[in-house]
């Protein structure tokens, strides 16, 4: 695991949190507009709302980071390692929106943090029997394309 890879994992956590918060804020500002498949024009308008647009851009950034992480790490590593997003949302709510966090929720935050620590301390990828590593897979792909 290099610094760049840790940054990608941090990107997954931060971008998904930011995207969800922005989307939630935008949808609340739009009020009780009935956004559904039966009401396509309001769905299109919702996408044009600045908060919603920003939220979608952040979620696209999240997806790019998520796909990048899956290209070099196991699914069972990436999912727990990035679940800090749940904790981040709660902390943002607590410190910025002054929401009260109950004892049960603090316990939940502690469990998630412990889970993240557990998985992050272990190996990030299962050694592949067919290929030495995903790095070699990328190299193979490049040399194959060079031959064509």
């Amino acid at each position: 695991m290099t610094l760049r890879k840790y940054l990608v994992l941090a990107g997954i956590t931060i971008f998904s949190t930011a995207g969800d918060s922005l989307l939630a804020r935008g949808m609340k500002e739009l009020g009780n507009v009935n956004v559904s498949l039966h009401n396509l024009s309001s769905l299109l308008l919702a996408v044009a709302h600045p908060w919603v647009t920003a939220g979608i851009l952040f979620l696209l950034a999240f997806f790019a980071c998520y796909m990048s992480a899956l290209s070099w790490a196991d699914l069972t590593y990436v999912l727990p390692a990035t679940s800090l997003a749940y904790v981040l949302v709660a902390l943002v709510g607590h410190f910025r929106l002054h929401e009260v966090i109950s004892a049960t929720r603090w316990l939940g935050i502690a469990l998630i943090a412990a889970g993240v620590g557990f998985v992050a301390a272990g190996p990030s990828v299962t050694p592949d029997h067919h290929r030495e590593s995903t790095r070699d897979a990328a190299r193979d792909a490049v040399s194959q394309e060079a031959k064509l």
Binding site: T76, P80, L107, I109, R135
Partner: protein, 126 residues
């Protein structure tokens, strides 16, 4: 009866998002290390390779099914039931699916992590 619908939706969400995660993970392992590819061939080559991987499109479709199941689930059940139940069950289902279909080595460390996170998600919604 509404409860039954809500749990059916939760089951569908877990099934669809696990399928999606496994397919996307499988696709990206076939594409190979994205950072390495980007350095050698540029960003367009990376995007091209990802988009031409057939299982990637299937994974996206499964994610779409999961998203719409969530919308239906939310109309049948409470937010405080559907979201934490589906999120925590998805963590556990993914650990099984990754072991079976992706042949990932899910050792004790990862099982503990998946269960801790799943439990934490439930508590946070309580």
């Amino acid at each position: 009866m509404k409860d039954l619908y809500a749990w059916a939706a939760i089951g569908l969400i877990v099934l669809a998002s696990t399928t999606g995660d496994v397919l996307l993970s499988y696709s990206m392992k076939r594409v190979g290390d994205v950072g390495e590819l980007w350095k050698r061939r540029g960003i367009l080559a990376v995007i091209g390779r990802v988009l031409t991987t057939p299982t990637f499109a299937l994974g996206l479709m499964a994610m779409g099914v999961a998203f719409y199941s969530l919308l239906f689930g939310l109309s049948w059940g409470n937010l405080s039931l559907v979201v934490p139940a589906s999120a925590s069950l998805t963590f556990v289902a993914n650990a099984f699916a990754a072991r079976i279909f992706l042949h990932e080595r899910v050792g004790r460390r990862r099982w503990v992590a998946a269960l801790l996170v799943a439990g934490g998600v439930v508590l946070m919604a309580a």
